[in-house]
Every structure is written in structure tokens, then in C-alpha cells.
């Protein structure tokens, strides 16, 4: 399992692996929104939680179709499926590798962009925390979507359509958590719900992903 994680991380940082792509997209998106809305601090601060969370969501969507498609194309998925690695573990490790290369850097970079969007001071910490707690669910759900569309040609678009509705609960509670912190209310309740979604997704979806992969490989 560790070997697979190391392999996927190594592939992500090598040329053409797409590491940093999600982060660059996130930075570009949030900056463009700031340019597009104009320099009115109050308006920016009000939309900041939503924009930052939508940005994180779209950025994590970018690299989803690579999770299994590359291993499918070059035959590695067949070989992994016939190896001693259990497919449930493979799906969990793939999701973890995706999170380490997209969700984690996004969460760490987000407070910087929060400043750009006039997000009030106390909300900065909650922004990073909510992204840290919420983005693993995006990777787990996305891995499931990638497993469902693995054999489909040009499956990227279908994957987005499948996955985006499933991202809604994380978006609602994540953005709400940051908004409450920005307005001086208690952000703990939406944060706990967000963490609950992540734990549920991480516990259950690897099994669903493995079942989808088995169906795709036969």
C-alpha cells in the first residue's frame, strides 16, 4: 500500500504529473474573481467564503480523471487488480494521494487568498481548517466518480457531472463554517458536519470504488 502511495506521489510530481496544476488553477480563479468584482472590500468579504470553497472544489475536480484513467490506459490497473493489493485499499490510497497533491496544498494556500478577498482575520484559521477537514471528502467522492467512469472514453465531462452534485453538502457546510466565523458566529456546528461527511466518505466510498473498478475490468 505504501509502495502504491509513493508511486502515485512520485508520478504526480514528475513531469506531466499535474502536481501544482490544481493549486495554480485555484490561485488564478480566486484572483480573477477579485478582479472581476472590483475593489469593493465589503462585497469581496461577503462572497469570499463561497468563492474560496467553489474554487477549491473546481480545482480538485481538475485532476480527478487522471486517478484511474492513466493506469487503465497503460494496463497497470489490470496488473494492480491481479496483484496482492486489495482494490478497496488501492481506491483509498489513490484518494489519499489525490488529496495530498491537491486538497492539502489548496488548504495551506487558501488563507493567503483569503487576505486578497478581504476575509476578516478570525475567519482565516477556520478557512484553512474547514478546507483541511472538507477536501478529503472531495478526493474520496472524486475517486469513486473516477472508478465509475474509468472505461469511458472522454469520461472527464461525465465524471464532473456525476461528482459535482455529490460535492454540494461539503460546499454548503464548508462555506457556511467560514461565513459564520467571518460574521462572528460559532462555526463549530457546520465544521463538525463537514468533518462527518469526510469521515463517512472516507470510510464507505473505497468499497464502492472497488466494486466499480471490478465491474469496469471484467
Amino acid at each position: 500500500m505504501m509502495a502504491l502511495l509513493l508511486r502515485d506521489l512520485r508520478l504526480a510530481v514528475r513531469a506531466g504529473g499535474g502536481f501544482g496544476l490544481a493549486l495554480a488553477f485555484f490561485l488564478a480563479l480566486v484572483t480573477l474573481v477579485a478582479f472581476g468584482t472590483g475593489p469593493e472590500g465589503g462585497l469581496l468579504a461577503r462572497i469570499a467564503p463561497g468563492i474560496l470553497w467553489v474554487g477549491a472544489l473546481l480545482a480538485s475536480l481538475l485532476s480527478l480523471d487522471r486517478i484511474f484513467a492513466l493506469d487503465w490506459e497503460d494496463g497497470a490497473l489490470d496488473l494492480i487488480a491481479t496483484s496482492p493489493l486489495p482494490l478497496e485499499g488501492v481506491a483509498a490510497v489513490k484518494a489519499l494521494a489525490h488529496w495530498l497533491t491537491t486538497g492539502l496544498p489548496l488548504s495551506l494556500a487558501a488563507p493567503l487568498l483569503g487576505v486578497l478577498l478581504h476575509l476578516p482575520g478570525p475567519a482565516q484559521g477556520w478557512l484553512a481548517l474547514s478546507l483541511l477537514a472538507g477536501t478529503p471528502a472531495l478526493s474520496a467522492i472524486g475517486t469513486f466518480g473516477a472508478a465509475l467512469t474509468v472505461g469511458v472514453r472522454r469520461g472527464g465531462l461525465l465524471l464532473s457531472l456525476l461528482v459535482l452534485p455529490l460535492y454540494v453538502p461539503s460546499l454548503v457546510f464548508g462555506a457556511d463554517c467560514v461565513r459564520r466565523a467571518a460574521e462572528g458566529m460559532a462555526p463549530v456546528t457546520p465544521f463538525l458536519l463537514l468533518a462527518g461527511i469526510t469521515l463517512g466518505a472516507a470510510a464507505l466510498l473505497p468499497f464502492a470504488s472497488a466494486a466499480a473498478l471490478r465491474a469496469a475490468l471484467r
Binding site: 509513493l6 508511486r7 508520478l11 504529473g17 497497470a76 489490470d78 496488473l79 487488480a81 491481479t82 471484467r218
Partner: protein, 209 residues
């Protein structure tokens, strides 16, 4: 003395995309034995190997093999172009819990290429890397789908030597190949008598299950 077969199938039917392509297959593979599948393109050699490897469920019949005894090598080698030859092999060695990759590198004459990215290899060199993976699996029964594709004469000799050594150590080989594998004792197995008429597998709905 009768030794237990390493792999045996009884009344096996193999389906591809829900359509049965081969049926009534009965054969056994003993330790130290090589069996080469013959048959025209599209008869179901790959489907049979994938079914035996556990990637697809059998349409009917049974497959008996010791657990964790099969290693499958398909048309594609599954090697990552941006990783080096050694990194690729080391991943598979760790996945199978093998000790090291030196033996496999040496057997397939990959030592001089060990630090080259796999993406820069020629087709034959990639194939050799794919076959070297079998050596790090440590599995006794090898299922090979067209292992000789893109190999030159020297590499074919390497493959024959590796397969021969595997058989002498009590391993077995089941290969689908149009070319001669260079194995003296290999048994040929013609799939043509087992061709199914192209009838749909079971009820229509099951084709989409």
C-alpha cells in the same frame, strides 16, 4: 507419482462482453509444465487468460488454483514512462512482498537501463521490463498474453531461458502466443474445438449486468 495440478479448469466457459466465446474447457497444468494456447485472432485467448487471472468471472464451470499462485501479464506492460526502470520494478516487488529486483534486472538484461525513464525505452525493452515484473511476483503460475511481441532474437532467447528456469523450479506457464516460445517440453493446446457459437450468455439482461 501424481502431483496436484497447479491450475485446473473444468467445464469452463469464458465470456467477453457478456457473449460466451469459449465453452467446455477442461485442462490441467502441472508444476513444471508449459501450455501454449493456439487459435485464430478473436477466439478468446485473452478472455480466457483474464478469466483465469480473476479479472472476469467465468460464465460457467470452475477454476481451481492455489490462492495467490497466479501472475498475469497482459498485452500492456503497465509501466510508468516517467518512472525509471528500477523504480517501476521496485514498486511491483514491494506490492508482491519480494526481496529485491536485482535478479529480475539481470535475467532480462535490464541492468544497463535501470536508471533510464521507462518512457524512453524501445518497445522491445519495455516488453522486457514487463516480463521482468513476473520474476518479482514470486508466483508459481504465469499467465502470459503474447509475451513475445516486439522482442528481438536475443530477447527471445532471454525469455526462453527465464521461462525454462521457472519451469525447472516447479513453476508453470500458460501462454497465448503465435510465435514459438523456445520451450522444448511445451504442450500446445488448440482452442478451436471449444469455440462457442456466439450465443448470448444466459438471459439477455445479464449481458448488461
Amino acid at each position: 507419482m501424481m502431483t496436484a495440478p497447479a491450475l485446473s479448469v473444468a467445464a469452463l466457459a469464458v465470456a467477453r462482453g457478456g457473449i460466451v466465446v469459449l465453452h467446455g474447457l477442461d485442462f490441467a497444468l502441472s508444476p513444471g509444465e508449459a501450455l501454449v494456447l493456439h487459435g485464430p485472432n478473436g477466439i478468446g485467448k485473452t478472455s480466457l487468460l483474464r478469466t483465469l487471472a480473476g479479472l472476469a468471472p467465468p460464465a460457467a464451470g470452475r477454476i481451481d488454483a492455489a490462492p495467490d499462485s497466479l501472475a498475469y501479464a497482459g498485452h500492456l506492460d503497465g509501466m510508468k514512462g516517467t518512472l525509471t526502470v528500477a523504480e517501476n520494478l521496485r514498486f511491483w516487488a514491494r506490492a508482491y512482498g519480494a526481496a529485491g529486483i536485482d535478479g529480475a534486472l539481470a535475467a532480462m538484461d535490464l541492468r544497463p537501463l535501470a536508471d533510464r525513464p521507462a518512457g524512453g525505452l524501445s518497445a522491445g525493452q519495455k516488453r522486457r521490463l514487463g516480463l521482468a515484473r513476473l520474476l518479482v511476483t514470486g508466483r508459481p503460475v504465469w499467465l502470459l498474453d503474447e509475451p513475445t511481441v516486439s522482442l528481438d532474437a536475443a530477447s527471445l532467447a532471454l525469455l526462453a531461458a527465464v521461462l525454462g528456469a521457472h519451469l525447472r523450479q516447479g513453476g508453470s506457464v500458460l501462454a497465448a502466443s503465435h510465435a514459438d516460445l523456445g520451450l522444448a517440453g511445451a504442450r500446445a493446446f488448440d482452442l478451436a474445438p471449444f469455440r462457442a457459437g456466439g450465443a448470448a450468455a444466459g438471459r439477455f439482461g445479464e449481458a448488461f449486468a
